[in-house]
Symmetry: C2
Subunit: 316 residues, 2 copies
């Protein structure tokens, strides 16, 4: 059975926060932030927005562009580590907004790997024959939990959401194929238990040991690309677009250069959006979607706090 992306959409909030804002918040200046992270601005939700509302806005964008794409959706998988409500979860809020009756619904977290894990869960339901058409929505309201005065990570975070509808049928001529999805939990390695955390009952999103995240992200994001290309019989040279999790431009450059993938093939949005968590890769795909030529190989690679790795190979 083959799997296809039938529709895609994303939403990013309008408010733009320049690096200068952090000078008075956590003492870091524009030059330092840009040099160390590649971030010039990040986007941030309003007080009325949250990870549920942004997920809904991303699905609205999808539904506007792809008429009928939500018809027959029988599985909704939400992905977020920055939940608005763990009871009316992201998936349930989307189900309510679009009246997706009869659909299964659940919302997952594997931190910044969540979109890839959610996509893989949908793959399993479709391949096992229990569902036919899935809506996967990743949405992060980092600013709902982040700490602007923290000089270790306050300046990193952006907010945003992205979504796809997938099924075993092409509904448009150009629907790309999801050739493979890989994922692996890495909770047992390094300082996965304390390097980055969001403990909602006890405080904010913090990254006290960024070094451990950086080193492991570089290692395992490269490994995810090697694993998924090797498994599917393509070389890293044949990758046309590499979409890495948008944590930090230095991680992305390290991964790409280690794999000898030229920087112009690396899709980035961290410069304008900041780190939008698990939504960053699907937003990246949505941004380039209309320009990708038939025959192109697109590879996602992600690393999540906690830790996790994952990869997706999409053939246009």
């Amino acid at each position: 059975m083959k799997l296809y992306i039938n529709a895609i959409g994303h939403y990013t909030p309008k408010e733009v926060i320049p690096n200068d804002y952090f000078k008075k918040m956590n003492g870091l200046d524009d030059e330092w932030i840009f040099k160390r992270t590649g971030i010039k601005t990040r986007v941030r939700s309003t007080e009325e927005e949250n990870s549920n509302s942004m997920g809904i806005d991303a699905v609205k964008a999808l539904a506007t562009q792809y008429t009928g794409a939500l018809e027959g959706v029988d599985l909704i998988v939400g992905a977020t580590y920055s939940p608005y409500d763990t009871v009316l979860t992201l998936a349930h809020a989307v189900q309510r907004e679009f009246e997706l009756k009869g659909a299964k619904a659940t919302t997952i977290t594997s931190a910044c790997s969540s979109f890839v894990n959610a996509l893989e869960i949908a793959e399993m339901y479709i391949k096992a024959g229990k569902c036919q058409k899935a809506l996967i929505v990743a949405s992060e309201c980092n600013s709902c939990y982040s700490n602007d005065v923290c000089s270790k990570s306050g300046h990193l975070w952006g907010d945003g959401a992205g979504c796809v509808v997938i099924s075993a049928e092409k509904t448009n001529e150009k629907d790309p194929e999801i050739v493979d999805i890989i994922s692996e939990g890495l909770g047992h390695i390094g300082q996965a238990d304390e390097s980055v955390y969001l403990r909602p009952a006890n405080g904010k999103l913090e990254m006290p040991i960024g070094r451990d995240v950086f080193v492991n992200a570089c290692t395992y994001m490269a490994k995810a690309v090697e694993d998924i290309t090797l498994k599917n019989g393509i070389t890293t040279d044949e990758i046309d677009y590499l979409i890495p999790h948008q944590a930090n431009i230095r991680i992305m450059r390290n991964v790409a250069s280690g794999l000898k993938i030229p920087e112009e093939k690396v899709v980035t949005n961290v410069d304008t959006l900041g780190n939008t968590g698990s939504a960053s890769t699907v937003i990246g795909l949505s941004q380039i979607y209309s320009e990708v030529k038939s025959g192109s190989n697109v590879v996602f690679t992600v690393f999540g706090g906690g830790y996790s790795m994952g990869g997706v190979y999409v053939k246009f």
Copy 2:
């Protein structure tokens, strides 16, 4: 392909909170609480405990009782709406504690339906052939988020965790078969968006509109039993143990009496543990596991805030 439960375990914290405690907290007395909810006591974690630590303790109980049960686990699915950490999720914390290298890991929420949804996700990975052996852990630290002074729901909540290992192979002679799992998101019905919520960035676990939860739980928990029995060719008379989500004894009695299932077949622990959320059914199964005779039909039925329904049919 058939699926079997290879191992099971649970953990409940030692601290017991009697109804009398709430007289001074939210003004409700023992008689009123017991009459309206069936709860005499609830158990509560210490300040050092949380949903990750209790999940680990449940897996320790499983591993102690079933030697070698964790060997070869290649998928860990956590289930919780009361997360300790949305980055080092329940599944990742378990992976770290037991060094379950090479396993996929993610943690889901569908509120009190989460265990059933997590079990279904594991079913999909095994049936699609991507994993062979799954550890599913449900853990709720309601007291990390609940509000003792709230007279609408403060007195309801208990803490606890339960877990199972499942695979397509029997590893013990008596391993029961998971015959079927059903689930459905109901985010679109009733007051799913406001009747019960946990919005971690904005406050505590609250249930302002218990009436809407009660009515829909009665309707859909009965429906889940009817659906799964009909689908699998058994009658409700043939159910030997009904394990309902332990929200409230009046909901459980309403569901059982509507289906003409005698009360002695209904497994309950809400009287001593309180509402342990998504962990309540797997704790219930773990509590009766050694006494269930070969040939018995065990049916779970759950309803989750937000809303969701689900059912599991286990044949011993």
